[in-house]
């Protein structure tokens, strides 16, 4: 009895895994087909350059530029030099200030847009992103016309007699922050808008019904529940602000050097690719840490916020 049963059973169990393996292969092929193009693009244009940058950090510049392939950690000791750390610190401060101001300006804007009648929301959102349709360089140049000692603001202020001498507005850290804020504010408003708009309006009503004034409702209900949007907006503004070199160049006049300018100069002026790569690596490491912190915080918040 058992001798006739065993082979059958064996045969049946044999079909199982083979079928499953085939199904798994098929699924894998399907995934590769859909992921393939994007994955290929990322490998060629992100991973390969990143690997090159990483490997350059170990070499040093030759006498007439170029790269001398002798491994050392000299570049990293040089980054630790006060001068370069100072520039990185200044960049973090300016990008941080930009992010904070963007949040303070962006939250009320996003909040108001989310509470507009539905058809006006789209109009308002289009207005928010409208500046993106103009070239970034042109928009930044326009700020020079505004902030110049002979610019619109100074001429208006002297014209009405508010000041005797033109204010020094251009080529200051303030001008850099203003330019960055102007450039990246929409990146703060959009994720905030989507977070606020998604918030169940009944939660605000429930808060009021339980005796909370509007301000208490904001601090206890609206803000905590839109924190993931706040974090996203902050990262969206901080990351490009930190690496930006056009705004400090044009509005900072080379007097306010940010890490982006430093890296650009190492590659294009000093022709020290290995050191430029090392500085770039430091920025990448900073941003990766930041993104990891953001992902962690968002996951924690979202875990508790599932309705």
């Amino acid at each position: 009895m058992s001798s006739t049963l065993t082979p059958q059973r064996a045969a049946r169990t044999d079909v199982g895994p083979r079928g499953r393996r085939a199904a798994r292969r098929e699924r894998l092929a399907g995934r590769l087909a859909t992921l393939g193009p994007g994955l290929g693009y990322l490998v060629v244009f992100l991973l390969v350059p990143l690997a090159l940058v990483l490997s350059y950090t170990l070499f040093h510049r030759g006498r007439f530029g170029g790269i001398v392939y002798e491994a050392s950690t000299d570049n990293f000791t040089r980054v630790a030099d006060g001068l370069y750390l100072g520039v990185i610190w200044t960049s973090v401060k300016l990008a941080g200030l930009t992010t904070l101001l963007a949040l303070l300006l962006g939250y009320p804007t996003a909040y108001l847009i989310a509470r507009l009648p539905r058809r006006w929301r789209t109009v308002a959102l289009v207005l928010v992103v409208l500046p993106f349709w103009t070239n970034f360089l042109i928009r930044t140049y326009a700020w020079i016309i505004l902030l110049n000692s002979e610019g619109v603001i100074n001429r208006t202020l002297t014209g009405i007699g508010a000041i005797d001498r033109p204010l020094e507005l251009l080529y200051t850290p303030g001008a850099v922050v203003g330019g960055l804020l102007y450039a990246y504010l929409p990146l703060m408003v959009l994720p905030l808008y989507s977070a606020i708009e998604r918030l169940d309006p009944q939660l605000r009503e429930a808060s009021a019904n339980l005796g909370a004034r509007p301000a208490r409702t904001f601090w206890s209900v609206t803000l905590p529940l839109t924190l993931p949007g706040v974090l996203t907006g902050c990262v969206f503004v901080f990351v490009p602000s930190l690496g930006n070199f056009v705004v400090p160049e044009l509005l900072g006049g080379g007097r306010t050097v940010m890490v982006g300018n430093l890296i650009r100069d190492q590659f294009l002026k000093a022709r020290d690719w290995p050191f430029g790569s090392t500085l770039a690596l430091v920025v990448i490491a900073l941003l990766v840490l930041l993104l990891m912190a953001q992902a962690w915080a968002t996951r924690r918040l979202a875990g508790g916020n599932r309705a």
Binding site: N209, L210, G211, N305
Partner: protein, 355 residues
């Protein structure tokens, strides 16, 4: 009315006078007037879009009427901001704060009143015991079942000891078994805490089983306000007769002998000497219709539906556009296609819309 402890004292708590509200082309409320008595369980019943939720939101302060007045204990309720009203609402979606645990959700309203921390803890524990959720204080809303969330929403609303508790379709999200259980519990709770409850529902069974009095609404108007039994037995108009329970509605002309319906005959109905000659609609409940009796109308059985305790029989009668429904106890003695007689006594029928 007075056989239970939570029976209304008769004192009006809330007085709604000619309240109207328009949203664009839609008249959500039109000249609504009603009084809610101290300690009663009041239901606003009607199909969706009848204005009952708008009325509830006006009481909570989330909507403002275009005209009319609302007073609570004689004070103008409409002049108070939502967060100052002694009125709590249990939302249909529960609207629990997802980032706070159960205890925090319940404590939220007490914290806003500035109740001392120790007292908050005591009252939260107490109300958790009342709704049977002791031990779940540290859970987040997403870790609870639908029934448990509903209890948290209820606890959060009653812990403030409001003068008036509003419940928006409180049981609609629950499955049938939990719903029956919660129905009993709501009623028990209302007697226990002695708060005036106003429940909004489209479910007539829910309204009938919970409420002391029911206001039936349709298209922004109040059609009838009555206790469940009179509402069922003496509907004030056609809408109520049709909306509450099943009813046989037959239109004809009032005579001294009954209601004359062309091609059918004279049907038994209560005497209405002042309405003789007028057109009216007769309403008779299926359970009042007798099958196989002598006299009455002759018809053919079209459908037999067995519900266990009762059986509903639909009988086609020549001359009537709708089959007559009769409910009989147990299994029916007639089968599909049988010829049978249907009859009812005039006292069991109601004459409506006598023009």
């Amino acid at each position: 009315m007075s056989e239970h402890r939570g029976a209304p004292t008769g004192e009006p708590l809330v007085s709604i006078q000619s309240v109207s509200r328009r949203f664009g082309d839609v008249q959500a409320l039109e000249q609504v007037s009603l009084e809610i008595r101290q300690g009663e369980f009041f239901a606003l019943l009607g199909p969706s879009g009848c204005g009952k939720t708008t009325l509830l939101r006006i009481l909570a302060g989330f909507e403002h009427p275009d005209s009319g007045s609302v007073t609570l204990d004689g004070a103008d309720l409409l002049a108070m901001a939502p967060h100052r009203r002694p009125v709590n609402l249990m939302f249909q979606s529960y609207a629990l704060f997802p980032h706070m645990n159960v205890a925090k959700n319940i404590a939220y309203g007490l914290e806003r009143e500035g109740v001392p921390r120790r007292e908050i803890r005591e009252r939260v524990d107490e109300v958790l015991a009342t709704v049977g959720l002791t031990g779940l204080a540290r859970r987040r809303p997403h870790q609870l079942s639908g029934g448990q969330r509903q209890r948290v929403a209820l606890a959060r609303a009653i812990v403030k000891r409001p003068r008036l508790l509003l419940l928006d379709e409180p049981l609609s999200a629950l499955d049938k078994k939990v719903r029956a259980e919660m129905q009993l519990e709501l009623k028990r709770l209302q007697h226990e805490v002695g708060i005036t409850f106003v429940v909004v529902t489209h479910d007539q069974e829910e309204a009938m089983s919970l409420a002391d009095r029911i206001a039936v609404m349709s298209e922004g108007r109040v059609r009838q306000i009555d206790a469940p039994v009179p509402l069922y037995e003496r509907p004030a108009d056609l809408f109520v007769a049709d909306f509450i329970g099943a009813n046989n509605l037959i239109t004809g002309v009032v005579t001294t002998d009954g209601l004359r319906v062309p091609d059918v005959g004279v049907l038994p109905c209560p005497a209405a000497p002042d309405a003789v000659g007028a057109t009216a609609t007769l309403a008779v409940r299926p359970e009042r219709v007798r099958l196989g009796a002598d006299g009455g109308l002759v018809g053919v059985v079209r459908d037999v539906t067995f519900f266990g305790g009762t059986t509903r029989v639909a009988v086609d009668v020549t001359g009537l556009d709708r089959p007559l429904l009769a409910t009989v106890a147990g299994a029916a003695a007639v089968g599909l296609g049988d010829k049978t007689r249907v009859d009812w006594s005039g006292a069991d029928a109601v004459l409506l819309d006598r023009a």
